[in-house]
Subunit: 339 residues, 2 copies
C-alpha cells in the first residue's frame, strides 16, 4: 500500500528527528518543530496509523514513536534527502586515492579507512572473490635451497606470494622447465578451473610431480585464504550514544571482530546492487540487534573491486553514510577504470 504524502512527510520527520536527538518523537514535537499548521491531535492519528502499518513502534504507552526497521529502509530508499559532500571532503577522498592507487590492496585498505573517517562509524570491507580471476603467470623465485617463492599473477593485477618446498636436487633449469610446464597448463584459466583440474602425469613430467602438487597447494591456500577483510574503527559505535548497555556492545563487537561474520554479512546478496541497507532485528540475526549495515559493491572494468559497508546503530546518519559510500565508490571506480 502506498503511503499518503502527509504520512511520508511525517515519517521522514520522525526518522530525521530521531536520528538527530535519539529521543522518541512525540506528536507535540512534530507540530512544534516541523508542522505548525496542524494540531498535535491530527499528528497523533497519523502516527497511530503509521504504527498500525508497521513503520513506528512505541517503547511504552506514554512514549513517543521510534522508527521500525521498515521505516529506516523506506527512509533510505525513498524519504531521505540526499546529502552532498563538501568540496573539502571530496578533495580529501580524491587525494588519498590518487596518491596510492598502484595496487588493489592499498586501494582496498584505504577505502575502508576513508569511509570510517568520513562517516565516523565502523567500516568494513571484503575484497572481491578471486574465483573468476584468470591466471596470467606463475613464476618461481628460488629463495633457499629447498624453498621457492611462487608469484601468482592474475588478470586482475592481483598478486600474491607464497612459499613452497622445492626438492633440493632440482637445479635452476629444471625449475624453469617445471615453471614452463605449469604455466602452459594453467595460464588463462580461472582459479576455480585450476583447483578442480585433474592432471595425468605422463612419464616425462613425473619428476615435477612434487613441485606441481606444491603449487596446486599454494594456489588453493591463496584461493581459500582469500577474501581479505578490513575493519576500521571497531570502537566507534561507542561514540554514538546508542550501545549503552554491555550486551549490545558485546553483540556489536562479536560481529565486527569476526572475519567470518563480516564476510557473511557483506557478501550475502550484494551483487550488483548499488546501496544496500540491512537492519539487525529479531528477523535478521546476522547483524546485532538495532544495528544497521549500509553497503555497496564497487566495480571497475566490469569486475567487482570489493564490497564496503558502514555498520553502526540503526539510528544512523544515513544521509552522510550513503553520500560517503556513493562518492568513494564513484571516485575509486573512475580512478581504476581510466587505465
Amino acid at each position: 500500500m502506498e503511503l499518503s504524502e502527509r504520512k511520508k512527510k511525517i515519517l521522514q520527520i520522525v526518522v530525521d528527528d530521531y536520528i538527530d536527538t535519539a529521543m522518541p518523537v512525540s506528536s507535540k514535537t512534530i507540530t512544534q518543530k516541523y508542522m505548525q499548521n496542524v494540531s498535535s491531535a491530527t499528528i497523533r492519528a497519523e502516527l497511530s496509523a503509521l504504527e498500525e502499518l508497521g513503520y513506528l513502534t512505541q517503547l511504552h504507552t506514554s512514549s513517543g514513536r521510534v522508527p521500525s526497521p521498515e521505516a529506516y529502509k523506506l527512509y533510505v530508499s525513498d524519504l531521505m534527502v540526499k546529502e552532498k559532500l563538501t568540496k573539502k571532503e571530496l578533495d580529501y577522498i580524491k587525494d588519498i586515492f590518487l596518491k596510492k592507487a598502484d595496487n588493489i590492496e592499498s586501494v582496498f585498505k584505504n577505502a575502508v579507512k576513508v569511509i570510517s573517517e568520513l562517516t565516523d562509524y565502523t567500516s568494513i570491507g571484503v575484497s572481491p572473490s578471486i574465483k573468476e580471476d584468470r591466471l596470467r603467470e606463475i613464476r618461481f623465485f628460488r629463495f633457499k635451497p629447498d624453498k621457492a617463492l611462487v608469484l601468482i599473477v592474475t588478470d586482475q593485477k592481483l598478486l600474491k606470494d607464497n612459499f613452497i618446498d622445492v626438492p633440493e636436487e632440482m637445479n635452476t633449469e629444471q625449475l624453469d622447465e617445471a615453471s614452463a610446464f605449469i604455466n602452459k597448463l594453467f595460464v588463462s584459466k580461472t582459479f576455480q578451473e585450476i583447483c578442480s583440474m585433474e592432471v595425468d602425469f605422463d612419464e616425462s613430467f613425473s619428476g615435477y610431480k612434487t613441485i606441481f602438487v606444491n603449487v596446486i597447494e599454494a594456489l588453493k591456500t591463496y584461493f581459500s585464504a582469500r577474501e581479505d577483510v578490513a575493519v576500521e574503527g571497531q570502537d566507534k559505535m561507542l561514540r554514538h550514544a546508542d550501545y549503552l548497555d554491555v550486551d549490545k556492545i558485546k553483540d556489536f563487537l562479536s560481529v565486527v571482530t569476526s572475519k567470518d561474520k563480516i564476510i557473511d554479512v557483506l557478501t550475502e546478496d550484494n551483487k550488483g546492487i548499488k546501496i544496500n541497507v540491512k537492519i539487525g532485528s529479531n528477523g535478521y540475526e546476522k547483524l546485532p540487534k538495532d544495528s544497521s549495515l549500509v553497503s555497496a559493491t564497487y566495480t571497475a572494468n566490469g569486475k567487482e573491486i570489493g564490497t564496503y559497508g558502514v555498520i553502526g546503530p540503526s539510528r544512523m546518519d544515513y544521509q552522510k553514510v550513503v553520500a560517503v559510500l556513493e562518492n568513494v565508490g564513484r571516485i575509486i571506480e573512475s580512478i581504476l577504470t581510466e587505465r
Copy 2:
C-alpha cells in the same frame, strides 16, 4: 620492607580469591575457606596492615579488600603458584607451529592467535623492528611496462613486495644492470644504514637515478610501515565480568584498536625481559585503568622475533596467562632456532 610469611600467604589468598570470584575478599572468607586455624579478627589486623603497606584497598568502609596494582605485581613475581599447561594444550601449540612455520609472518600471526585462544583474553603482538636487518638481495620483476615488483630479501628471511615505477623505455638488460648496481651498493647493509645513505650519481649511472630513487622510496615505505601489529579477540574482555560500564569498555577498545598505542605499550621497555607485567592505573595511563598487560619478547638465534602480550582486566588469570606466554615462547624459540 620484607613481608612476613603470613602476610605473604594472606596476600596470595586475597589475590587468588579475588581473581576467582571477582568479589572483595573479607576476613571471614579467608578464615572460612583458607585458614581455619586463626580467627577473623587476626586476619582483620593483617589485612589492615597490608592495606597500610599499599597492597590492598577497600571500595568503602564495609567492603572486603581488593588487591592494588602493587599486589598484582608482587603476586606475579613472587606469590603466584606457577601453573603447568596440560599435555593437550602443549600439543595444540606444537601442532600449530609445526604445521606452518615456514615464514615469520605466519608464525607471528599464529602466535597471537594461539595466545588469545588458550588464555581467553585479548592478545596483541608487535613484530620485531627491522632496523637491524641486513639486506641480502633486491630483485626486480617486471610486471607491467612501467611497473616493477621489487622483492626485498633480508638475513632474517623476511621478505616483502612493493611496486615501483620504472621508466617504460628501460629494457630488461638495463633493468638488470640497475639491479646489479643497487645490490652492489646496498647488500649486507642494515635498513638503517641504507636509509641514511647519501649516494652521488656519477655520470655513468645517472640513467638509473629514477629507478634508484624509487627503490629507496620503496625501502623507506617498507621500513616505516613496518612493525606489524596483530590483535586477536578484541571483544574477549566482555566475557570476564569486569568492564561492566561503558567507559571502561571505551578505554579498553581505544587502546586495543589503535596500532600506535599497541606498539607504544608493547615496545616500551620489554627488551630482554622475560615476563613483564604492567597495570593500568592512575599512575600509568597508557593502559586502560584496571587493565593489565602481561608481555614477553621472544628471541631465536640471538634475534628478536616479536613481542607478544595479553591484555585484560587486572583481575586476570595470571597463572594461566604466564604459563601460556612462557610455553608459546619456548616452543616458537625452539622451532625457529633448530635450523
